[in-house]
Symmetry: C2
Subunit: 227 residues, 2 copies
Amino acid sequence: MLTQPMTTSNSFRRAPAQPVTPARVTMFENSIELMGAVMPFARGAEIYGENEPAEYLYKVIAGAVRTYTVLKDGRRQIGAFYLPGDVFGLEVDDEHAFSAEAIVDCKVMVIKRRALVALAARSGDVAHQLWTMTANELRRAQSHMLLLIKTAQERVAGFLLEMAARSPSTAVVELPMSRQDIADYLGLTIETVSRTLTLLENAAAIDVPTSRRIVLRNHAALNRLNA
Amino acid sequence: MLTQPMTTSNSFRRAPAQPVTPARVTMFENSIELMGAVMPFARGAEIYGENEPAEYLYKVIAGAVRTYTVLKDGRRQIGAFYLPGDVFGLEVDDEHAFSAEAIVDCKVMVIKRRALVALAARSGDVAHQLWTMTANELRRAQSHMLLLIKTAQERVAGFLLEMAARSPSTAVVELPMSRQDIADYLGLTIETVSRTLTLLENAAAIDVPTSRRIVLRNHAALNRLNA
DNA sequence: CGACCATTTGATATGGATCAAGCGATGTGG
DNA sequence: CCACATCGCTTGATCCATATCAAATGGTCG
């Protein structure tokens, strides 16, 4: 029984886009394929919780995932969004630092961490892949950090450009997440996100045909904002 | 010839405090010792620049280092502070993501990245260490991210607790960095940092006998703020 | 059609930024 | 040794971007 109704559009399939050498990809992907099982998660379902032992790592096959943590006062900070092809939940420690939830109905490949770490001990290539994936997360966290010190316009513009870069089309962004998710990712309120989108629309930088679809009309203008 | 006069207090020596298993430490430290040369850097000197090829990685022996990036509009964001025992400049990519500067006169061990990566390819332990160090950076970046969405009081309290945890004494923090550095680390202005410290002092949470020395009088109160 | 939920829009409040001045420690030259 | 310049820090007054509170709109599903 699913914890949430299987509703609406989970039509967010994309090609993996990891910048690694073909040889390594193949080799590593093969390892994953061998060890991983694909599991479905319903919209809103928890994939793992903060402070739970990190027994698995995960790869998004279809759908979208958010990781987050909740501060003492109830504010939620989203650490990252993961789209098809992205790996998440990779920890060196034995505990997850964030919780993970399915944003929409998802298919996620689940891989035993111990098995992969063991394999890494024998294969330099696998070890290098684990290291690279962690470093990619580090880069992502660092640029997320930079977003958080900017103005609302810069954050929203930066977010849209980031999503566009990860989308099949750099012109149209299909957002799997709600305004609240975006707000919690950017450290803003839902109202400010909404107002800023309206503002960008009025400035002819974007179109918002539906709330979950954003057309980037003027990358230059967005980049200019993205200080 | 030094780029900056050898002035004032660079009396910031601390014991390394990396949470790794003794066996691994020894093994890895030996590798480093073998490959690394200790170099002095004068206060304010650049250790490496953003976008420079990452040929080396570094370990602070004495002093303190900041990494930073400058946004288009001139704002500077400090990525991290590194104290004795900390490793920095470790990249999987071939380029540094941030610039690094000596905050005070420093002694820094410099290690050839290629040599270490090559060693990692043969030694699972070294590979694991590289991975662990990158993961530690990731943790640090993630908690830094969380700081940046908080209020000024929470950020300053969090910063002080972080510094205290890394200090030999958890009660007295000797700050190697200026208010401007702290401000750029916390995403605040120098004025707000100063005001907040005064506020915490008035609230009897801390003492500020000199501007670079902070006495934590009430950890509980600081923790409470650190939402 | 009507209820519900997400999003947008409007009005007001506020925390931190900005602009500006004062203060204290450190170092310099007379 | 003292007067003065400099620099880092603190304090004060005002402004503004974003949060907060509140209401209207719109899309979705029963």
